[in-house]
């Protein structure tokens, strides 16, 4: 009995230590972001936040179009998540519950491409954007991301478990068309998983870096592109770089801290089935 209790204490102690190491870099970024560059050189380095945060932030806004970048990122990530939620639910419903010729082969194709790296198609995608004259515009970031294989796979898995076939049959007997079923039965049933998918997609889109860097310009950036402009051009201005980082990261981290339970549930569910 006592052995077990000691064991449990050890577990809590270890997990707390790990939690400490997982949060310390974020904490330290706030420390640096709220100091001035001169104080970083002191020994020992500053370990607590100072009072320069807002001054550093205003320099960020003077250096890169950070307000525009925030708006762009909210627009990009928002529209991508809504679209992925909608189209994945439709396709996931068809794959999970409807019978049609070619269903298995189409599903297999979708799952198979989940393992293909994004890099494999990125050059033709760029050529396509040049042809469409979308380089530099947000279309180039939003349109290719409107659907993805993971979303369809995720919703197919969820709906085949969570949507009772009897309910669909009952709806059919009552004279519902398929669209009626989608509207009255599928969408309400899909809501919990779609919400998780939406949050995951929002995070991925918000943090996406390589593709926006390739097709957007520093004048019309997303948050990540603006941050990399800061990191690239002002190498020795640590406090400004980290003030921008804190500003671009903290909203998402705070939202996550509140909704994290659901997102984690979604990741873990997807994993067991995958």
């Amino acid at each position: 009995m006592t052995g077990r209790r000691v064991n449990n204490r050890l577990t809590y102690l270890t997990l707390t230590a790990v939690a400490f190491f997982f949060t310390i870099p974020l904490y330290y970024s706030i420390v640096v972001a709220s100091r001035d560059n001169a104080s970083l050189a002191s020994v020992p380095p500053p370990l607590f936040p100072g009072g320069n945060f807002f001054e550093n932030v205003s320099r960020v806004f003077d250096t890169v179009p950070f307000g525009l970048a925030m708006l762009n990122s909210v627009f990009v990530a928002g529209s991508i998540s809504i679209s992925v939620m909608f189209f994945s639910t439709l396709a996931g419903f068809a794959f999970a519950k409807l019978r049609f010729r070619g269903r298995n082969i189409l599903l297999l194709m979708t799952v198979g491409t989940m393992m293909v790296p994004t890099l494999a198609g990125i050059i033709p995608l760029y050529i396509l954007m040049v042809k469409l004259e979308w380089v530099g515009s947000l279309y180039a970031v939003v349109v290719p991301a409107l659907v993805n294989a993971f979303g369809v796979f995720f919703m197919t898995q969820y709906l085949s478990r969570a949507l009772p076939t009897e309910l669909l049959e009952a709806g059919r007997v009552d004279g519902c068309t398929t669209w009626g079923l989608v509207w009255h039965v599928v969408f309400p049933a899909a809501r919990p998983a779609a919400a998780v998918l939406g949050m995951l997609t929002f995070m991925t889109a918000w943090n996406d870096y390589m593709w926006p860097l390739m097709v957007l310009t520093p004048e019309n950036p997303t948050v990540q592109v603006a941050l990399s402009t800061l990191a690239a051009g002002y190498v020795n201005d640590y406090v400004m770089g980290l003030a921008g980082t804190a500003l671009g990261t903290l909203p998402l981290v705070i939202v996550f801290a509140f909704l994290g339970k659901h997102i984690i549930g979604g990741i873990m569910q997807g994993a067991v089935k995958g």
């Binding site: 409807l98 790296p117 990125i122 995608l125 068309t177 980290l242």
Partner: protein, 321 residues
């Protein structure tokens, strides 16, 4: 086909409305037969245009001398691949990618397994620990690199301060091959260990409780249970984690780019240029044929590693049973 079947299927309780019934049933047939395609079509149209088509077209571009500025694209066969395989920078980038991949993946997997094992028991504040595990993953790569570049700084970095306060000499992390690989691997580990731990934890929770009860009665320690019960039971998920981390590590891009303050070569001596960064360097030269060949080689490497991983997992399964 649509006219006969509804007649037979028509419910007899509504006689009289034969024409209406046929029309209704015809519509019903169309609904049942065709509407599934309508639901998958938007996904597939967009997916083919922006997902599948580009992947295939990459191969086509890689067989040409193709730059953005020329309208003429000369077919050169496998010339781009021949030049690529003879390019020492390519093999240097391959070495760096594998080295960083191994340095980050092995400790990461062990740590993730151990963390998942610790979390796989009734604990208070379970959600708090899970959320802190995933916090680094919510942080964007760009932010991670900016933060860690400061922490790994030569003069004012936190880590060098700790090292020097123990009386050792500070490390110029960016300058050496091994030291820069360690720094970059640390960033990757910090961002992904918690995520992988949660995926492994999900699989562990599906392992039947009785197995652990039986092991406890037999006097197996917690560590023995992890080794003898948990790991064999969740092997498919471990394979999944290894494969996805492999795909991820073949595409490491932001870390070397921003750690080197946006230099495309990854250090003066290319000591930490990865394959993705090598790709990006050639893309920036607008040499699309050559960079397409690079992205295909990355794809091939992933297939090879996935194949090896598949064989090893099967082998292990065979030897244990």
């Amino acid at each position: 086909m649509a006219t006969r079947a509804p007649e037979r299927a028509a419910p007899p309780r509504r006689p009289g409305g034969k024409r209406r019934l046929t029309g209704r049933h015809w519509r019903h047939m169309v609904d049942v037969k065709a509407s599934p395609y309508a639901y998958v079509a938007p996904f597939f149209l967009l997916f083919c245009a922006f997902g599948l088509f580009p992947i295939g077209y990459t191969l086509w571009v890689s067989l040409h001398e193709w730059t953005l500025l020329d309208d003429e694209h000369t077919f050169v066969g496998l010339e781009n691949f021949r030049v690529l395989l003879a390019d020492s920078y390519f093999w240097n980038a391959t070495f760096n990618t594998l080295s960083i991949g191994l340095l980050s993946m092995l400790p990461q997997l062990l740590l993730a397994l151990w963390l998942a094992h610790l979390l796989n028991r009734p604990l208070r504040a379970q959600n708090f620990f899970r959320i802190t595990l995933l916090l680094p993953n919510v942080t964007s790569v760009v932010a991670v690199v900016v933060i860690f570049s400061q922490i790994f700084g030569r003069d004012f970095g936190l880590i060098n301060w700790v090292i020097t306060s123990f009386g050792f000499e500070g490390v110029a992390w960016r300058d050496g091959t091994l030291s820069s690989h360690v720094a970059i691997s640390t960033m990757i580990m910090w961002r992904w260990t918690g995520y992988n731990a949660l995926i492994l934890l999900a699989a562990m929770q599906a392992v039947p409780r009785e197995l652990y009860e039986a092991a406890t009665i037999d006097g197996a320690s917690s560590f023995t249970q992890l080794r003898k019960v948990t790991v064999p039971m969740i092997r498919p998920t471990i394979a999944f984690v290894v494969i996805t981390s492999t795909i991820g590590s073949m595409q490491i891009f932001a870390e070397p780019l921003l750690f080197g303050a946006y230099t495309l070569t990854g250090g003066q001596d290319r000591q930490y240029q990865t394959l993705s960064l090598f790709f990006y360097e050639n893309y920036m030269r607008l040499d699309f044929g050559f960079s397409s060949a690079i992205s295909w080689m990355i794809f091939v490497f992933i297939l090879i590693i996935a194949g090896i991983n598949y064989l090893l997992t099967n082998r292990m399964k065979g030897s244990i049973r």
